[in-house]
């Protein structure tokens, strides 16, 4: 069984469906047989990684899809054993620095040195006349790299540039230090538009032979658009949501309710509590819910953001300014402090007072 997200993931550049110009540029890049270090950024669910893999496919052929997982161990200076997964193919490997915690600098440096010390031997693509003397290293979630690690990377990038190409994937460039930005080719992948997403959903629906209660194209499109909007233009979310919806019934009712994420519903409930019933007892109740959300590793900043937008949606227009200003204060505190529960509570209390 394979999820639609994986099943209908384009494997090659020419199958990519939106952002034509970016695709064309990547194709041009790959055709030279070499490319500079890349920093690919954009919101989640916009197809960053899909594009990166398609580019690699163009460069190295289908070998890049032969992935294997290695568990690497690394002993830190304090003698703690650190384990992390490295996904690799003959031509590239992929790491996620957030697996390594605060030791990412040492681990990445070590790993890259290791790779760089051996020159890539390339037999398969020799017939094409291009030899790839480098190995590609994909760094996922590059924005979670510590400053320390980023500073170390900048040196590594120059030193080993003959043997290694880095592709950094990140949601935003704001956490990435300028020296790295200047050493990489920035590729921005924006979120797909609503119509692009609905087009993709439509394609999937046709390929899966889904039955709809109404067979009119324009009516179906309305459902797809609803899903696209609801998923805030995150293609991954949209596809998963669509698959979930289509699982519910043999024939899909076009008027069907979308299935919202559980934690979003919980946050909606918090916002309802804050809006309708401001009291000290409710604050205690909300605190328990916050704890529950945090226990499920929902990042505190996402909780705050979602809650604020939920509140803005249904509060009176003269309160909007206050709420946004409160939200920004506590968002700042969240990134400064370490125990997020204090700040979430502070936000809830202030918001209650502002709304009362």
């Amino acid at each position: 069984m394979s999820l639609w997200v994986d099943k209908y993931r384009p494997k090659t550049l020419n199958k990519l469906s939106f952002h034509e110009s970016i695709t064309k540029n990547l194709g041009a890049l790959a055709s030279t047989g070499d490319f500079p270090h890349l920093l690919v950024y954009g919101p989640s669910g916009s197809g960053k990684k899909t594009r990166v893999y398609a580019t690699l496919h163009e460069l190295f052929g289908s070998q890049v899809e032969k992935l294997k997982i290695d568990v690497k161990t690394f002993t830190t200076s304090s003698n703690r054993k650190l384990e992390f997964n490295v996904l690799s193919s003959p031509y590239h490997l992929e790491i996620t620095p957030s697996d390594m915690g605060n030791n990412d600098r040492v681990v990445i440096q070590d790993l890259l040195k290791d790779i760089a010390s051996t020159e890539q031997v390339d037999f398969t693509s020799q017939q094409k006349g291009i030899k790839h003397r480098f190995k590609v290293v994909i760094i996922n979630e590059a924005d979670s790299l510590t400053r320390d690690a980023q500073a170390a990377l900048r040196r590594t990038m120059e030193k080993y540039s003959s043997n290694i190409r880095l592709i950094m994937i990140s949601n935003t460039t704001s956490n990435i230090i300028p020296p790295i930005k200047s050493r990489t080719l920035l590729v921005r992948i924006p979120a797909p538009s609503v119509s692009e997403i609905s087009q993709i959903l439509n394609n999937v629906a046709t390929k899966e032979n889904l039955k709809f209660s109404v067979n009119e194209e324009s009516e179906k499109l309305k459902l797809f658009e609803k899903i696209a909007i609801n998923s805030s233009q995150n293609l991954r979310k949209a596809l998963l949501c669509f698959e979930t919806v289509s699982m519910q019934n043999e024939t899909i009712q076009l008027s069907t309710n979308l299935i919202d994420l559980d934690w979003e519903i919980i946050i909606k409930n918090i916002s309802r509590l804050i809006l309708t019933n401001q009291s000290v007892a409710n604050l205690s109740k909300i605190r328990v819910i916050f704890y529950e959300l945090l226990a499920h590793c929902i990042p505190a900043r996402i909780i705050l953001k979602t809650l604020l937008f939920d509140l803005l949606e249904s509060c009176e227009s003269n309160k909007i300014e206050d709420l946004v200003s409160i939200g920004s204060t506590f968002d700042n505190r969240l990134s400064l402090g370490s125990k997020s529960i204090f700040h979430l509570e502070g936000f809830a209390a202030k918001a209650m007072v502002a709304l009362s």
């Binding site: 669910g45 032969k66 650190l82 509590l273 704890y291 506590f330 125990k339 204090f342 007072v353």
Partner: protein, 529 residues
């Protein structure tokens, strides 16, 4: 192993041979004694040994507590219920002395566990102490519960004792609870290392079983402690040369501790120094440490100390006292967050906003020396005028922070495991926030399974209360995903179950004993009732 029990008849002989290690009252040295006999004190014995109570009436303890204990122990003997009595309290509050003397009064005495023996073997041997040989089994020294294997075995032995279907002698466990300042490495967690109490020792579950009861002792109140000390003063020659008001002054200091053993020891040392012309009165300041709930109580209700000073001075001094006496400020801060809202009026938004804002602000500057007390101070200030008006007693609850961290650890472990599989080639947050919810639903529909959200489902859904927890199918789900991964993509290495080698910040044994909610019991001489 001194103890051999061949048959019931042999036991009596064994006792005469001093084969049982019978407990002494609160002396640190180990001596063998036969049951009920009054030993004549040697003149050079330490006073704690010399003046130890010989009968129940001499015990320095609140008479009501003593009656409670006697009733409980009598019940154990007569009805066989509860099977296990856990007596807890701070050190030196006459717990074990009372238990031992009462057991001699009610039955033929007691058998005491020696920490060098294997606990399970000891309990097994004790099972024969029934019928005409019936006597109390007293466990004062626990096996080395700081080692997780031993702790596991200890808990198992206790569970077995509770469930075994036969007559058993009454078992009394005495535990001196204490709390230690958190050290650098595990400051985040509440475990047996830094909080040695019944919750961390037995774990949450055992204490809810039938057949186990807990009796809590408080430190000895001044008026009960003074009496035996005065008797000692009257009987020791050394005090003849010391002026009465010097003695009284010193006694006032040492009774503060509420620890009889400590007080007598201090008295002995002081008198020795004093008779040599050294006045060490001021060296025996009481141990001022207070426990978490006491500290919270002081912050919420303020204390009556320093009443002679003006308002702001009083406030300042009270907080300084707390800071001096309680060290684990991080835990204190979290507990304040958990509790402050129970002590302000429903509609008192001003106070609510003030305190919550200050809590959040001071969390930022907590790391700096100058800012570490801001949270406590502002809570006190906020609550000073606005404490809830009706005098209803609100219980204080323990922070949920540690539970939360534990759960979060579990969830992130599950997700990190999934992340290795080719089906989940996306970021941690994506797996958790989006896939975590949708994928199980899709699989459930496709394969008629009943999986929960990745990482376990939410216990709270908005304003509805706890949902009935169904047995989670999380583990199976993980395996399932792996199987799929292998079917789909024969190129991926099979993932090893990395349950064991994942770096857990809390291990299994420390997981259980988190007290959800501990009601705070005020001590006898509470200052803020």
């Amino acid at each position: 192993m001194k103890r051999k029990i061949e048959s019931d008849n042999d036991i009596d002989d064994d006792i005469d041979d001093e084969s049982f290690d019978f407990g002494e009252c609160y002396a640190p040295s180990r001596t063998h004694k036969s049951i009920g006999k009054v030993s004549t004190p040697a003149p050079d014995q330490p006073w704690v040994e010399k003046y130890k109570p010989q009968s129940v009436n001499e015990i320095a303890i609140n008479p009501t507590k003593l009656k409670q204990l006697r009733d409980k122990m009598n019940g154990m003997l007569q009805q066989g219920s509860p099977r296990i009595l856990v007596v807890t309290g701070p050190s030196g509050c006459s717990k074990s002395t009372a238990v031992k003397l009462i057991s001699e009064e009610l039955s033929r005495g007691f058998v005491e566990y020696n920490e060098l023996e294997d606990f399970n073997e000891f309990l097994n041997d004790c099972k024969y102490l029934i019928d005409k040989n019936e006597r109390f089994v007293v466990v004062e020294n626990l096996p080395n519960v700081f080692y997780s294997e031993t702790l596991k075995r200890f808990r198992q032995a206790i569970e077995n004792w509770l469930y075994i279907d036969q007559n058993l002698p009454p078992l009394v466990i005495c535990i001196s609870e204490f709390e230690k300042k958190f050290n650098e490495n595990n400051h985040e967690f509440f475990n047996i290392e830094n909080n040695f109490n019944i919750n961390t020792i037995f774990g949450k579950n055992i204490l809810f079983y039938r057949g186990i009861e807990v009796l809590k002792f408080n430190s000895i109140a001044k008026r009960f402690l003074t009496k035996p000390l005065k008797q000692i003063v009257g009987r020791e020659k050394v005090f003849k040369n010391i002026r009465q008001n010097n003695i009284n002054k010193f006694m006032d200091i040492i009774v503060e501790a509420g620890d009889i053993r400590l007080s007598i020891n201090n008295l002995e040392m002081w008198s020795k120094f004093f008779s040599k012309g050294m006045d060490s009165t001021n060296d025996y300041k009481k141990d001022e440490a207070i426990d978490l709930f006491h500290a919270i109580g002081k912050i919420i209700y303020s204390s009556t100390d320093h009443r002679d000073l003006d308002k702001s001075e009083q406030l300042n001094n009270n907080i300084n006292d707390i800071l001096k006496k309680y060290e684990n400020l991080q835990l204190l801060n979290l507990s304040i967050l958990e509790n402050y809202s129970n002590f302000i009026n429903e509609t008192d938004f001003e106070t609510m906003e003030f305190i919550s804002n200050k809590l959040s602000e001071s969390e930022l500057i907590y790391k700096f020396d100058e800012g570490k007390d801001v949270m406590i101070r502002s809570t006190r200030v906020g609550l000073d005028e606005n404490l809830i008006s009706n005098k209803k007693f609100n219980s204080i609850t323990f922070t949920k922070n540690f539970n939360m961290l534990r759960e979060a650890n579990k969830v992130s472990r599950i997700i990190h495991q999934l992340k290795g599989s080719p089906n989940f080639q996306t970021s941690f947050n994506n797996i958790n926030l989006i896939d975590g919810f949708y994928v199980p639903i899709i699989i459930n529909k496709l394969q008629y399974k009943n999986y929960d959200r990745i990482g376990g489902k939410f216990k709270y859904l908005g304003d509805s209360l706890f949902e009935e927890e169904e047995p989670s199918q999380q583990l199976e789900f993980k395996i399932d995903i792996k199987d799929n991964a292998d079917d789909d993509d024969e190129l991926s290495d099979p993932l090893e179950d990395s349950d064991d080698d994942f770096d857990l910040t809390i291990n299994d044994n420390e997981r259980k004993p988190l007290p959800h909610e501990s009601d705070y019991e005020f001590s006898d001489d509470s200052e803020f009732m």
